[in-house]
């Protein structure tokens, strides 16, 4: 089955892979975690500051949370357009992805990428290349939970 040539090829392939693994920059897990924690924490803290401000003006918690989400989404979309959010994301990793600002960033980034395909089926469609799957799974679980509740009651 294995001729000597094949064996040599396999060894060469292995050596090549080892070489690649040596040259590849190792992800620094500890540093990535600190960045994700601090940036993600700060984004949430900014949200809490807005919510507390609105609560102190007599706005309900549900409305304050919704308004805060809208403001954070607006800011993230704007900073993605200006090119700053992706720069932050290169360091912050999940710290800039997990908050709702990361959702807004994904929407704008994928829409921008396909801008040359036009404003209707380029930007208009690609907005949903990440937002679509996210909403699909959110809706499906929500309806399932709702149905379970209906049939249990």
């Amino acid at each position: 089955m294995h001729t000597p040539e094949q064996k040599i090829k396999e060894i060469e392939k292995q050596e090549y892979e080892d070489l690649i693994n040596q040259a590849k920059p190792k992800p620094n897990l500890a540093r990535n975690m600190v960045w994700a924690f601090v940036v993600g924490g700060l984004i949430c803290m900014l949200g809490q500051w807005m919510i507390n401000l609105m609560l102190s003006r007599g706005i309900s918690l549900a409305d304050a949370s919704s308004a805060t989400s809208c403001i954070l989404i607006f800011l993230a979309a704007l900073f993605t357009g200006l090119g700053y959010y992706n720069e932050l994301g290169q360091r912050a990793g999940a710290g800039s992805i997990v908050p709702i600002t990361g959702f807004a960033n994904a929407i704008v980034a994928s829409a921008l990428e396909y801008k040359r395909e036009g404003y209707i089926f380029g930007v208009g469609a690609r907005i949903f290349s990440v937002a679509g799957p996210t909403l699909v799974f959110g809706f499906v679980i929500a309806v399932l939970v709702g149905l379970i509740r209906v049939f249990l009651s």
Binding site: G41, M45, N52, F74, A77, G81, V123, A131
Partner: protein
């Protein structure tokens, strides 16, 4: 009111979990998977009644991450089911999350039209 440092701690920890998943599974799990995973995870935990305690503890630290969006969808659904029954299962989620979804689509579209891709 939830103190700011609790939002920082809880939100930071939720992001660290995402970072560990990404670093451990690189390059299989993309940022898109993280978004889908968080909204799904948040929705399931919310359905089991396990996400609300996290919200009580961390406020925006639990609601600003996308898992909080899943929680919002599920809690909106459950509330609507109590009021309207079966119809509520289909209307409640989007009703509760309407502002965020609309803001994301409208601001996302406007920004993508105004700005050009960098680099």
């Amino acid at each position: 009111m939830v103190p700011l440092y609790m939002a920082f701690l809880v939100g930071g920890l939720l992001c660290v979990i995402g970072q560990i998943i990404m670093d451990a599974t690189k390059p299989t799990i993309t940022p898109g998977h993280i978004l889908v995973g968080y909204i799904t995870g948040g929705a399931i935990l919310s359905g089991l009644g396990l996400y609300q305690p996290l919200v009580n503890l961390g406020g925006a630290g639990a609601t600003v991450p996308l898992s909080g969006f899943g929680h919002l969808l599920v809690q909106g659904t459950l509330k609507a089911v109590e009021q309207k029954g079966l119809l509520g299962a289909f209307s409640g989620g989007v009703e509760a999350a309407a502002a965020g979804i609309t803001a994301a689509i409208v601001f996302g579209y406007v920004v993508a039209v105004i700005f050009n891709p960098k680099g």
